[in-house]
């Protein structure tokens, strides 16, 4: 398995493996941490700190689960430690509850930026060209349904129908992929 090779390479302090892991997970670890510590700079510090430790401790690391699960669990702990330090618990109490309920989710549900991009791309390819165009205008360009209907010179009703179709297909494509924490991330 690729994971095992990476962990083994880390143990040998293989810098190429380290850089690979870093680039692969950095942005998703940051986005993931944003649900616990809502400050971009702090989050980046915490994640960078984690990788420095990963490098220094690599030879004696024992990763039972997957590397992915290890990274996400570690960064979550770091976020909690940071918050304990900062005493900002009250504000985030509700998310706490939410995420502890979902913590039994398997680690395979975590993902990296490149994995997410691929999955979204693959899902979008399943849409008809028109449907895809409308959905992209809505979600990528952040246009309102009214703006889209004006831009494409179609009725607002058609826009709504196409988006509804897109959601029908996408939700099935993404159902097994996107993790539960993702939802907690969005309900902020």
């Amino acid at each position: 398995m690729k994971d095992l090779l990476l962990i083994e390479a880390l143990g040998r302090r293989d810098k190429v493996a380290f850089d690979y892991i870093f680039n692969y997970y950095y942005s998703s670890l940051c986005a993931f941490s944003m649900q616990y510590v809502n400050d971009r700079e702090t989050v980046e510090d915490l994640v960078q700190e984690l990788f420095v430790t990963l490098w220094v401790e690599a030879p004696k690391l024992q990763i039972q689960s997957s590397l992915k699960a290890y990274l996400f669990a570690s960064v979550k702990n770091r976020c909690f430690d940071y918050r304990k330090h900062k005493k900002v618990t009250e504000k985030y109490q509700t998310y706490f509850l939410f995420s502890s309920e979902s913590s039994n989710n398997s680690a395979d549900n975590y993902f990296s930026e490149s994995e997410l991009r691929q999955t979204i791309q693959k899902s979008l390819e399943k849409l008809s060209p028109r449907c895809r165009e409308i959905f992209e205008l809505s979600r990528i360009e952040s246009l309102s349904n009214k703006d889209i209907s004006e831009k494409l010179e179609i009725s607002k009703r058609t826009v709504e129908l196409q988006i509804s179709n897109a959601l029908k297909i996408l939700r099935k494509e993404l159902a097994d992929f996107l993790p539960f924490w993702f939802i907690t991330f969005l309900i902020r």
Binding site: Y26, A31, W55, S138, E160, S164, L167, L170, L178
Partner: protein, 349 residues
């Protein structure tokens, strides 16, 4: 009125973008509450709706820029990394009789180079059956007994040299009156100016002890929130701190037998079998079980030099009416090993 799934799917885009009328909105709210299946259909749609914005969020973090920063920090840490590696290897390789003297030179050199760096705590541990010898950043020499662990910063702050011990160690503290030396052994604190002494403080025991060879040390203990002073020790004394009673008792001893482990020797001098067994357990990483409580009371006097466990047991057998049975260690399903067990019993007449 109940909504069909296709009606719901029609309305969801507006629901998600906030375009629905009040009435339609509450219809969807109702539908979500109807069943858990409905709610999970909704959550799936929600995920699909927000997947692209999440990807955008991730793309705002620049991993290449961040990696550059991390590489810079790793480079700064290089010296300390090397030292940690060297110490780990040394801790494993150093047998009681083996003195790795070049290592100390390397350590002192690299320590001077990074005095300016942040306070980093490092841990040196001695594997079962081995004694490690090494120097702290201030020149203090430490012998760490089998199965013990010492934590200390890569360089000491100017006002205090503080180390944390789990297990047994012998210290030869480098003299520096401006920078007191302190050993933290569970609750017990040992404050030192410049001297040599032995500390025994295993986490599976309810007591800690100090044997002073030379100089002076001051004892105190952190009991709950308070720190209690326990006075000063003089050379040749052994102090035992009992956690349950929060009391220190002192006695005059022959220090030799308490520090013989440094040279790989095991000395028993009028010690009860109970103590002998405790020390053998640590020394050989085994579990000795006394089947007959009467054996506990037997008193021993013996010196062992590099003898193996069987030789030690045979000698015990000669000097008292006891016998032993060895249960070899087994491999557990998780790949771990159980400890070798030895049962001690009275000899059959």
């Amino acid at each position: 009125m109940k909504l069909s799934l296709s009606e719901v799917e029609d309305l969801l885009p507006g629901y998600l973008s906030g375009d629905l009328s009040e009435n339609e909105r509450s219809m969807i709210d109702e539908w979500r509450k109807e069943s858990t299946e409905n709610e999970s259909v909704y959550l799936e749609c929600y995920k699909a709706w927000e997947a692209i914005p999440l990807l955008n969020e991730m793309e705002k973090f620049n991993s290449f820029e961040a990696l550059r920063k991390v590489n810079k920090r790793l480079h700064e840490n290089k010296y300390s990394e090397w030292r940690i590696i060297i110490q780990r290897i040394a801790a494993i390789l150093l047998l009681p009789v083996l003195i790795f003297s070049g290592y100390q030179t390397i350590q002192n050199l690299s320590l001077k180079k990074e005095q300016k760096e942040n306070l980093v705590i490092q841990t040196v541990s001695s594997r079962q059956g081995m004694v490690s010898e090494f120097s702290l950043p201030d020149g203090t020499k430490v012998w760490l007994n089998s199965g013990s662990e010492l934590q200390f910063p890569t360089h000491f702050p100017p006002n205090l040299r503080e180390v944390k011990l789990k297990g047994e160690a012998f210290f030869e503290v480098a003299k520096n009156e401006k920078q007191p030396f302190r050993v933290n052994a569970k609750e017990l604190n040992i404050d030192v100016l410049g001297t040599s002494f032995n500390v025994v403080s295993y986490s599976d025991e309810t007591q800690s002890e100090v044997i002073l060879i030379e100089g002076k040390v001051k004892l105190s203990a952190d009991e709950g929130q308070n720190t209690k002073e326990y006075g000063t020790m003089h050379p040749g004394q052994r102090a035992v701190y009992k956690e349950e009673f929060q009391k220190v008792s002192m006695e005059e001893v022959n220090p030799e037998k308490y520090i013989a482990w440094r040279d790989g020797n095991l000395i028993f001098q009028d010690d009860s079998m109970e103590d002998v067994v405790k020390r053998l357990n640590r020394w050989f990483n085994v579990e000795i079980i006394i089947e007959d409580p009467e054996i506990n009371e037997y008193i021993y006097k013996a010196t062992f030099r590099n003898e193996n466990l069987r030789q030690v047991l045979n000698l015990l057998k000669i000097s008292a009416p006891i016998d032993y049975r060895i249960i070899e260690s087994k491999v557990l399903p998780d790949g771990d090993f159980t400890k070798q067990k030895i049962y001690l019993m009275k000899k059959n007449k």
